[in-house]
Amino acid sequence: MIKKAYTVYMGLMLFFLYAPIAVLMIFSFNYSPSRNYWGGFSLRWYRDLFNDPHIPQALFNTLVIAVLSSLIATIIGTIAAMGINSLGRKTKSIIIGVTNLPVFNPEIVTGVSLMLLFVFGIRVLGFGEMGFATLLMAHVSFNVSYVILSVMPRLRRLDGNLFEAAMDLGAPPMRAFVQVVLPAIRPGIITGALLAFTLSVDDFIVSFFTIGPGVNNLSTLIFSMARRGINPRINALSTIIFIVVMILLYIINRRDSKKRKEHLA
């Protein structure tokens, strides 16, 4: 009886979550741009989407920024985490506290503060402008914190003497790192990199304040399009993004559960 009530409730909540997405997807195939009239099945909005002068460039920017910022943040974050891990308790907690700031700060504050930093920096340096480079720096700067927070727990569990032991046995520092430390902290690094990548792809607020005129990533472009009202191209774009996300998540989920099964066997 109670279980049935919960099933009904869960169904309602799933409806609430999926109905808006379903509406977008259905109307992306509507020939008519209207939302209360079905003008017949058509792919015209998909054709318009691919012929749009701005969308492919914005998609490219989003992906390049996500790849570059997560890569750079992973390198900076991993090295920093190793350094932080070797510190005394007091200094360590201060540095971790500051590292946590971008995670707990409201995004709008992070956004405007980085905007002011870049404007200020450009004025002091006397060159440069808001655009692709500032966007990349902004994404790297919030991603570094997440990478450090993912790598730190792994490092803490690692016996600090292992690195020294490897060097005592004659391994040069680089080799000791690659063969001893790196394998132990790899899961943390991968988690951090994936987190950084998703945060970067999904980010709108920080991008909005740091991107500068004339440059767009997918989020800022959708915002300026949606602001002008309904646009069936956005429906087509949503449908494609939803399907890609669904497939990716499904693959990741399958791989995870397979791994778990192998682990149990």
């Binding site: 409730y9 979550l17 209360n36 090295i79 540095i95 700060n105 989020s219 949606a226």
Partner: protein
């Protein structure tokens, strides 16, 4: 030896985390005067100042926006809690296909936040899907888009998973033998829930409330797309100052005020978490649940 790795990071952190916040603070307490930059609290007093002599406090334009932001965020947080707790409970206690269901609830979260908000534009507008369904059923149509209700719907839709996840995690990991012990001691279902399960899930509730309230009180996107008018939420005010007006001093002061509001509300939320005394004086160890 590894310690040298930390110095470049300290430099990095100072430039990209500490300096930007200090610049915001600096802008909030300075103004550009003809004879250079001067130190002033003008931007803060401007926020609270009346437009004319004797204007009631809550009618002052910025105060009204601030209280409206807090009100809408509180309403959204409460709605998320009321909808989200039973959902988390059902997911944690009743389902064998838990991971698949959780997967279903998480998928929309992975879609671009703007697209999720935009979807409601299609549904709520006057010629939208909701009104089409209502008139098909012979019911009167509603005009929701560009109202506070639309903003709340947008917030709940976007932030509900942030409420469900932490509560679900706590409930899932709860030790069943404690519940059985309560039942053995004669507690009925309602008592078990109110006096054992709910108090023990408090840590999840607290993080859920925090994780919904924070983005709800700072958003400017949802109110921009679904809300009406120019001054909607404090996030919109800040966005306007930085993007359109260019008064960074006033914008920075509002950012500082926003941070203060958040810290204050976090304090309030923490108050709920006062450890309830068990009848016999024993307290439930809550920290160990996470």
């Amino acid at each position: 030896m590894k310690r040298i790795f930390v110095y470049p990071y300290i430099l990095w952190m100072s430039v990209f985390i500490v300096a930007p916040l200090l610049i915001v603070l600096w802008f909030s307490v300075t103004a550009t005067a003809p004879d250079g930059t001067v130190f002033t609290f003008y931007h803060f007093t401007r926020f609270f100042a009346p437009a004319f002599e004797g204007q009631p406090f809550f009618q002052r334009i910025y105060i009204a926006v601030m209280t409206r932001s807090i009100r809408l965020a509180v309403v959204s947080t409460i709605v998320c809690f009321v909808l989200g707790y039973p959902l988390a409970y059902a997911l944690a206690k009743f389902y064998s296909h838990r991971s698949f269901l959780l997967f279903l609830f998480m998928v929309p979260l992975w879609m671009n936040f703007l697209l999720r908000t935009y979807a409601w534009l299609t549904i709520l507008e006057q010629n939208g899907v909701l009104n089409a369904v209502l008139s098909f059923l012979g019911l009167p149509t509603v005009d929701l888009l560009f109202t506070d209700t639309a903003v709340v719907i947008g917030m709940v839709y976007n932030f509900l998973p942030f409420m469900v996840l932490p509560i679900y995690t706590v409930l899932r990991d709860m030790d069943n033998s404690i519940i059985e012990a309560a039942q053995d001691l004669g507690a009925n279902r309602v008592q078990v829930f109110l006096r054992v399960v709910f108090p023990m899930s408090m840590s999840g509730v607290i993080s859920g409330l925090t994780m919904v309230f924070m983005p709800a009180v700072t958003t400017f996107v949802i109110s921009n797309l679904l809300g009406g008018g120019q001054f909607i939420l404090i996030g919109n005010l800040i966005e306007r100052q930085f993007i359109h007006v260019g008064d960074w001093h006033f914008g920075s002061a509002m950012a500082i005020i926003l941070i203060v509001i958040i810290l204050f509300m976090m304090g309030l939320i923490k108050l709920i978490d006062r450890q309830p005394k068990e009848p016999d004086g024993a307290t439930v160890e809550r920290g160990t649940l996470y």
